[in-house]
Structure formats: C-alpha cells, structure tokens
Subunit: 82 residues, 2 copies
Amino acid sequence: MKSLVKIMPKKGVLDPQGKAIENSLKQLGFPQIKKVKQGKIIEIEIDADNESDAREIITNASNKLLANLVIEDYEITFLKED
Amino acid sequence: MKSLVKIMPKKGVLDPQGKAIENSLKQLGFPQIKKVKQGKIIEIEIDADNESDAREIITNASNKLLANLVIEDYEITFLKED
C-alpha cells in the first residue's frame, strides 16, 4: 500500500523557504502568484491488511518522527493501487 | 485558486533523506514500513481565470524555478475551493 504524508508549516509559523520562492517568482515575472508555502511530502510503502491499520501505523510514525507537531501539521492520504 | 506542486526525486536518483527516515523508522519499531521517499510540496495561491491558465503559469514556474528537472519530477494538482 502506498501512502503520502503531507507536512506543512502551521498557520502563523514563519516559512522562510516559501517566502523566498514567492519573492523569486515575483522577480522572475509571475505577478499572478500570490502566496507560496513550502512543505515536505513523504511517500511511504507499507505492508498492512487494510487502510485503517496502515493509517494507525503512519499516524504513529508521523507523531514520533516525521512531523514536528509544534510547528507543523500533517495529513495522510492513500494512493489508489493500479 | 490554490494549487499544489509535488516534487519528488526521479526514479534511480539517490534520496538520502528518504533513506534516513526509512532507517530511523525501522529502528523505532515500524517493520511494516518498507520504503520511504521524501520530496517537497509547494502550495501556491494564484490569480487566474481558469485551471488551464493557472496550470500553464505554474508549469512555467516549476520549470524555471521550483523543480530541478535533472533529478526531480513534479506534478501539479488543484485544491477544490470550499
């Protein structure tokens, strides 16, 4: 099973990388781009019988290692198998 | 309009961050997690009349600045407005 954990800075937390991209894009001539936030995405291949088991394991892993809950929010999604 | 650009290392390109997470998770007791890849996600707020205009602008921005096409692939998706 393949899952994605999307980790973004929480609202109100400084996001210097996003800001830097935003400014660079403006200078490169993209005035339509208003706001940029940068986060991480983690693709995980996991052995589990069903999605709810997998979600539990990944939630656990996210809390323990993947995300810094003081400054980041995370969101788990599953990719459809082909 | 809100869009997400997901940027992942291409197949075959070394991904030391993903590898590090994979090893740490194994040591922390997550044997079910088989493979980890880490990428970036960039959330963009853009002024555009429609999705195809927005996609064109963001594709352009991705090629010019956001992704390193030698080692990374990118994928653009749009978030549903509430």
